[in-house]
Subunit: 241 residues, 2 copies
């Protein structure tokens, strides 16, 4: 198929996927660039692709060729990619034994980096609170480096979800500078969930109160706290031992 | 003192400090917001401040009061801060025993986050290659959360600098996925330098060849690499034990 104009309804609908409300309504999201598109294809979430005329990629899926002006119209990147993919959101109901819970993370780079580290250190499921940065924000997708498709990520009311975990014998970890146990001394648990919180405000206090144990990363007193993606990654690294 | 207009030469000169070439020429840089300004003041690098009329901060340094339009004119932030400080660049000649070398880091958020983690995990000096993102870029300064003033950071030709370190019995660490030694098995050295590299390209090969030992962070094979600020922080965390 070939579409030439940005006035085409299909192109207008795809551009709307830059906005969260249209992603929520359609259960679709867009990804930009060949690397992410190929990752989506491998993971069976790619619905269709727009490809710049004169370019091609070797995948067996509905392709629409468009002039680069159409890709520039859709993208929010400074340099339009040669390929834009439309993906369907898929949620896996199986949550596994190693869970990372994120309370109101706001920075897309932080969320993307945390997803990448979670794949590296064998987390099974990431649970986002309802007021987190949108997972399908293009900056989040880029920061994951394509690993979004290798991680089960769900959105839940955290209080209800943590109560459910506690009924199922998961050990719940929070972090605390004051009363925490040094990270290196945390014993391995078969089933656990780690709760990390908002960049400025941390984890909401009524959620933090639900933890069974608090982790502390020893550091120089000049530094009050680490970047949340760094702190999360260090904890995941240590617990993956 | 009070300056009302953005046409004032002093204000024009301060605005120019948003550009690297003027920072290099003047050996000055600007910081935005009360938190960073107070940190600069505590660390004796603050030269003077611009303060929004009607606001004040309790420091004993040359103050110039300006309307908020002047602060909006100078800042590159969406919301103008109430305080902008002008700082002098200061370089400490003493480099210490624990050194972090950064080869061509490009992302300001990554550099800022690495500086923050370096303070947390007791690095003495950070050495930047000559073609790194500028340390005094406002995004770097913000990502350090004020810890820029708690770290000695210098810029050097890395090959010359590493040769000097080797003559002085520093152990030089690089990272390698293929031939690396697992991070947890690295023994402590009294004097060491860790070399981390560019986001996409890693450390230049002729620099990597100068290392005495290579570190490997074990991770799931689905993940090719970690974000550079995360990888650096995990290594610093582990070596600070």
């Amino acid at each position: 198929m070939f579409i030439e104009s940005i006035k085409n309804q299909k192109i207008k609908d795809i551009k709307k996927l830059n906005q969260k409300k249209y992603r929520d309504k359609s259960n679709l999201f867009i990804i930009e660039g060949e690397h992410l598109v190929l990752e989506a294809y491998k993971n069976n979430v790619l619905d269709e692709v727009l490809i710049s005329v004169g370019y091609d990629i070797d995948i067996n899926i509905t392709k629409t060729f468009v002039p680069s002006s159409v890709l520039s119209y859709i993208t929010e990147l400074e340099n339009a990619p040669k390929v834009i993919g439309i993906c369907k959101k898929i949620e896996n109901k199986h949550i596994g034994n190693k869970i990372l819970i994120l309370d109101r993370i706001q920075d897309p780079g932080n969320l993307g980096t945390i997803i990448r580290s979670s794949v590296a250190f064998n987390i099974d499921t990431i649970v986002l609170s309802e007021d987190s940065v949108d997972l399908y924000n293009s900056k989040v997708l880029r920061a994951t480096q394509g690993l979004i498709f290798s991680m089960n990520i769900i959105e839940r009311n955290l209080i209800d979800f943590i109560e459910e975990l506690k009924c199922n014998d998961y050990k719940i970890y929070g972090t605390s500078v004051k009363n925490g146990k040094v990270l290196k001394n945390i014993e391995n648990s078969e089933k656990f969930a780690i709760i990390m919180g908002n960049e400025g405000k941390g984890v909401e206090s009524n959620i933090l109160d639900m933890c069974d144990e608090y982790i502390y990363i020893p550091m120089n007193s000049k530094c009050e706290s680490l970047n949340v993606a760094v702190a999360t990654s260090i904890i995941l690294y240590e617990l993956s031992r």
